[in-house]
Each structure stands twice: as C-alpha cells, then as structure tokens.
Amino acid sequence: MYATPLINQKTTLTPRSYDGHTSIFLPTVATITDIKTETRLEKIFTIRLPNGQNLGQIPGQFVMVSIPGVGEAPISIMSSPSRTTDTFRLCIRNAGDLTNVIHTLQVGDEIGIRGPFGRGFPWETFFGKDMLIAPGGLGLAPARSLIDQIIDHRTNFGRLIILYGSRNPSELLFRDVLAEWEKRDDVELMVTVDRPNDTWTGKVGVITTLFEHVQINPFNTVAVTVGPPIMYRFVTMELLGKGLNPEQIWMSFERRMKCGVGKCGHCQVNHRYTCQDGPSWTYAEALAFEEAL
C-alpha cells in the first residue's frame, strides 16, 4: 500500500467545542480587521481570531472560510507563520458565488474560519537548500507564506529564486512586495506576463520562458510551484530538464472541498484526500496518482 507520512498536519481551530460537545463543522467566529484591494479580482483580508489567538499554520496550509447563509470554501493562507501574530491574511479572488459575497464585506464584519487544514510545505526539511519558487497567477498568495517564511529565516537557506508568471500586468499581485524583493541581494526575482500592456517593460511570455534565464545546482535545490493545474505539466518539465528529480519538486493542488476534514469525498485524488493528505505533494507522489495531473 502506498503511504505518505502525513507531516506538518495540525489544526488549532477545529474541532470546536460548544457546551461540552465538539464539532468539526462549527467555524470559529473571526473578525475582518483590514481589507486591501489588490487587483481588479483580488482583495487581501486581514483576519483576527477571538482573543488574538495565533492561527498556528504552516506555509501551504488553507482555512475554510464561511459566510453562513452563503457557504464555505477553502482559501490558502497568505501569511507566513513568521508574520502571524494576532491576525493572519488571506488573498481572495472573486471567482465564484461565495468569494463574490466575501468581496462585499467590510472591516469589522465577522466571518467563520475552520482550520488550518492540510499538509503544508515541510519548510524545515528544506534547510540548507537553494529554493526555486515558481508561482503562477493567484498561486503567489500561498507561495508567499513560504517565501516570507524563508526570508524571515534567510540564513537557514541557500539561494532564493522566485519565478513569477502572470497573465497580464494588471493581475500582478503584491507589486509593493515584488519591488522589495527586487531590491534585495539575497532574492533572485524574475517576473513575466503573458499579455503585456503599453507600459510594461519587463519580460513577456508564459512562466516557463523564465527558466532558461536561471541556472541551479540540481543536487541542492528544492523547487516549489503553485498555480493552475495546466501550469504544472509544463513547469515540471522545465524542472526535470534542469536535473531535479520528482522528489525535489513540490506542488500544491486545488480541488473542490466541502468539509476540509477528509469526510465529504469531494477533494479525492485517487484514494487520497487533498484536504488532509495534501494540498502539498511532491511531484513523485503526484505521479503515483493517475488523477493528480
């Protein structure tokens, strides 16, 4: 039987106790303390748990966000553990029914949070490695929890290479942060867009076109890619082409989720539940699942 050790799995808010009962479905009521409009489609929500409790997440984990009366959906956590105190942040794209309503919320409104769920990136096992992080589009939000964690433990890692691809300049996330990374000597950042506008002076092309500009030591590099399903096929080809083996490549999977706790069946990939055994997998693990890629 194929068995992956489930590492890094912990949750601080679920199950929640109430009157001596516990419920894995009962969200914790949290408050929105800040909202920042990031792009036409994305907003960043800062969320405070009761009594300023620390979310206690690992990079790459997600929470289930609820608006009772509308629904619940999995959202990747954007904050790194190193930058999580009494609040944490979620970068939410207006892509569906629930997120559409989330985008109408105001500072001070309450929402439901369960989690953090899933297997995050085992960042401590990457100590001493060169890190190549390749997010596409909204994938930069979950990737950022890892990038910030690395930056805040910078001496524990080798090089930090970030290859970021976006559809067009207006959809680029975290432009202020990108500018900061750009200035740093210990971060190698490259950004490309598929469809440039008149003012764009940077690189043009899909994310895979960035790989020819970067040389890595295949013996000592861990790659992490987060993006839409279609991207993985091409990015993994590039990474394999650079001599990485499938165990050195990590990715994060998106699936429909209704419970987050391995019961509802929606996120199943072969026999695995993405909400529990994922969403982070190595490419080697993904190759063992016919349904993964």
């Binding site: 009366g69 509308v70 029914d97 559409n100 309503v101 109408t104």
Partner: protein
C-alpha cells in the same frame, strides 16, 4: 442590488399558475414583502409602477407582437427572471409548433382561423431577450422561488441543480417508476422539484427542462422498454421541451418529424364543426 429592490410580475402566454403559486406562498411567507417591494403585479395588485429592478416574467412568447413588450421590460429591468416552464422552455405552448401555424389556426377556429388571432411558433423568453435567471417547473416550486429570490438579495448568481430528478427520488426512497412499468423522464430532467410527480406515482414529463448531461440515447432505450413507439417517445420529449429538442437538433435527434406532415389529432377535442 439595493436593500429592498423593486420587483414586478408580468405574464405572456401562460395559465398564470406560477404567479398563483407565489400568491399562495405569501400566505405562509408574508415576510417576503419585507424583502422586496412589489410595484406591478396584475394578478395580485391594482397599482402599476414602471420603476422596477427585477422583472419576473411568466409565459412564453407566442406572438410576434409580444416581442416589443418583452424588450421594453428587458430595458427597464436590471434583472429578468423567467418564471415557470413556459417562460423558461416555451413549455406546453410549444406543442403547437409540431404543426404548421396556419393549420393550427384553422383547426382551432375554422376556415377563418388565420384571421381570428395572431400566432407564431411559441418560444421561451431567452429566444427573444436576455434572461438572467430561471425558476423552472410547471408550476414553479415555491421553495425554489424563495431560495432564488434570497440568493439574488444576497448578491449571488441563482443556482439550479444540474443533475437529474433521480437523485431526489432516491433520497425520498421512492420506488423507481421506470422499474415498475411507468414511463418517467426523471433520468434526464433537471432536479429541484423534490421529485414531486414520481413521489405521487406519476412519471416525470420534463417540465423543468433537461439535466446538463441528459442521456437521450439511453432514455429512449428505457422508454422503448415500456413499449412506447418512437413517435410516442418524441411526443413525450417534446411535451414541454419542443423548442429545446429542436435547438439540440442532431445532438438529440427526434426519430419522427414533429414539425410537419404530422396529422392533427382527431380526438374528442376535435375541431368545431363548420356549418
């Protein structure tokens, strides 16, 4: 959408039974009137306001002259909702589309029938104007109506089940009619009515339109198993969904022609005798 949107009800070719369902719903859910302001509703209200955000339209379009009024409503409303099978699908009104219009007119009103009234092949609202949301059924399901109104008030896109009726039949533990010799279109019809007809022993006739993945080939196979002829199966598939079957065309071909060369029925409801 404002806090308390103004809504209006309109009717075209229909029995107005869907609006009646809403009137009836108000007996148990008067709170609905705290959520919306009804400015025009011929069936339930005398005053007529022309300033509305949501237009609920019952009935199909069965006259060329109806199109202008529909377009006017579309221009005034931010959101247009097709209310019931006639508005959503064309519904039973489209059964007449099986015949040439002139023949239908003569059949119903005698040899001067063509001058007696205006008609053209009946069609759903979406064939004439853009429709934003649909509340299916003949008549509509009151709970679904309520849910869809609530979803719109929440700023959401109204959502209908896209799977077949069988799901609801199984959840209610109904004995399958198709397994017991009664033809039922449940396997290809969009759920959402809580399988009300099969629950009371009547086979589904498809009034809610087809499920997204309706498997017509094997539905026909099932109906043939009941001893239905190809013609009878076509009649079943076109009872509410004549317009849709013609839209689907080669994707779900009818085996007999239902637009021409089909003799007008000679039933007890035959044409009035001419002197």
């Amino acid at each position: 959408m404002p806090a308390k949107p103004k809504i209006a009800f309109f009717d075209f070719t229909s029995c107005e039974g869907c609006q009646l369902t809403i009137v009836d719903l108000l007996q148990t859910h008067l709170g609905l009137l705290d959520l919306v302001e009804v400015v025009q509703w011929r069936e339930a209200k005398t005053e007529k306001g022309e300033d509305y955000a949501i237009a609920f339209i019952e009935g199909s379009c069965s006259r060329a002259s109806d199109e202008a009024r529909l377009k006017q409503i579309r221009e005034r409303a931010q959101v247009v909702v097709a209310l019931g099978a006639c508005a959503h699908l064309g519904g039973v009104n489209t059964m007449k589309n099986r015949w040439v219009m002139e023949n239908v007119q003569t059949y119903v009103y005698g040899k001067d029938g063509q001058n007696a009234y205006e008609t053209y092949p009946a069609r759903p609202l979406s064939a004439v104007i853009k429709v934003d949301a649909v509340i299916p059924g003949c008549p509509i399901d009151r709970h679904e109506f309520l849910r869809i109104v609530q979803q719109m008030l929440q700023g959401r896109t109204p959502k209908l089940p896209d799977y077949p009726l069988c799901v609801e039949c199984k959840l209610s533990e109904n004995s399958c009619l198709n397994k017991h010799g009664k033809p039922c279109l449940g396997p290809i019809t969009r759920a959402g009515c809580d399988a009300i007809c099969p629950t009371y022993g009547d086979g589904c006739e498809g009034c809610r339109g087809w499920a997204t993945e309706a498997n017509f080939v094997h539905m026909r196979e099932i109906l043939r198993g009941h001893g239905l002829s190809d013609y009878e199966i076509d009649m079943k598939l076109t009872m509410f969904n004549h317009y849709q079957m013609h839209e689907l065309g080669a994707k779900a071909p009818l085996t007999t022609s239902t637009t021409e060369n089909v003799p007008l029925p000679t039933s007890k409801f035959s044409a009035p005798q001419e002197d």
